[in-house]
Symmetry: none
Subunit: 203 residues, 2 copies
DNA sequence: GGCGGTACTGTACTTTGGTGCAATGGTGCA
DNA sequence: TGCACCATTGCACCAAAGTACAGTACCGCC
């Protein structure tokens, strides 16, 4: 996994290269064109706005963003994550920490650091409370048996009957039986309608 | 890193053990005493309160918590993280996903899954709404011809090939031809995966 | 003029999805 | 002890989805 450090000038802090010697270092001006797949570490210096250091396009499918903040705070972390970053950590973090961040993010995880986590979650929870209760419309699952719900969920994720049978360790015929029952109970025609219903795209 | 699956009864879903054959499986009653260092996967069944499955004490220094939720939703994820969990993923996730989650969490990261992340962030910050819709939402259509896009959109709405043929006034065979081309261009297997992609539920 | 992409269609075929009928066994309830 | 519901499975069957191979036709481009 290639790492790219992107700062105002193409200069890396010593700890960065100690952590990831193979990384390349770019100036922001080059970042639009010269960067390929991998992990992109954007340094956010004190007082800078996030929008000025992140590219407008957002990450490509084969890229992850990490924000290296000189002054990390909870609001900045939320903004970074909202802008598509997979993590946010201190610019002056130790090399071992940076390596760990790279490992986690490279595998699709999030990294916000332990000390920031509590504060971030605290403010997220507060924001959530002000939002409408989200109306968990789970009336579909209420109509189904436990096993039917399991099968339905797997269908909603685009699994085939054969895959579902293997996952639940039952025969394909039984999967079909459950599905027939699900269709009948919910008044649906096939697995695609079921998927839309479960994923909340139809009433 | 030892993994422990903790459910109402000491029974694991097949995918769990396929992902982590070395894991041990415990009932909740045993979880207080029998669990050592490593990653603790707590299954949260539909309708259960988080507090009933997580131990009151919280994780020890050498432990990480993961919540395996039968019905993952944004509020539950936030609650789980606030309660000390390092991640929250679907109980029915594929083995490869579970392995990745274990890797990330074992290295101190967070895991909430990509689709959940979007929703959580959507609740946490409005910033997201200004950003992605054009970027990611339309990249699938960019790869397709005009006719293929028409067919794909109808498929995403759960129309059958016959219905699509009637709507577009072409033969069912032509619908299939377009779809075969769409699957090939987007690297998808069938119409259900296509529907999820178009409806923005998969990357 | 050839080449590649698109649109369209046919025949034939395999695979997957879904139903009907039948059966076994378990659970919970009146 | 029945009855209803659930989970499971087999066999047979039909329909829908999807693929392989082939063919016609239009368009823009070098």
């Amino acid at each position: 996994m290639q790492n790219w450090f992107i700062d105002r000038h193409p200069v890396a802090l010593p700890a960065w290269l100690e952590a990831l010697p193979e990384a390349r270092v770019l100036a922001r001006a080059q970042a639009g064109t010269a960067v390929g797949a991998g992990i992109l570490w954007f340094r956010l210096r004190a007082g800078e706005a996030l929008a000025t250091v992140l590219p407008a396009a957002g990450p490509a499918a084969d890229q992850h963003f990490i924000v290296l903040s000189d002054e990390p705070d909870e609001e900045g972390v939320l903004q970074a994550l909202a802008a598509g970053a997979a993590g946010c950590c201190n610019s002056y973090a130790a090399p071992e920490v940076l390596r760990q961040v790279a490992l986690v993010v490279g595998n699709g995880g999030l990294w916000v650091g332990q000390s920031l986590l509590r504060r971030v979650m605290g403010s997220s929870a507060r924001i959530l409370e002000r939002q409408p209760p989200a109306a968990r419309a789970d009336d579909w699952s209420a109509l189904l048996s436990e096993r039917e719900v399991q099968v339905a969920r797997l269908v909603a994720g685009a699994s085939s009957n054969k895959e579902i049978a293997r996952q639940l360790d039952i025969s394909e015929r039984t999967v079909k039986a459950h599905l027939t029952s699900v269709f009948e109970k919910l008044g649906l025609r096939d697995r695609l309608q079921l998927s839309l219903r479960i994923n909340g795209l139809t009433r």
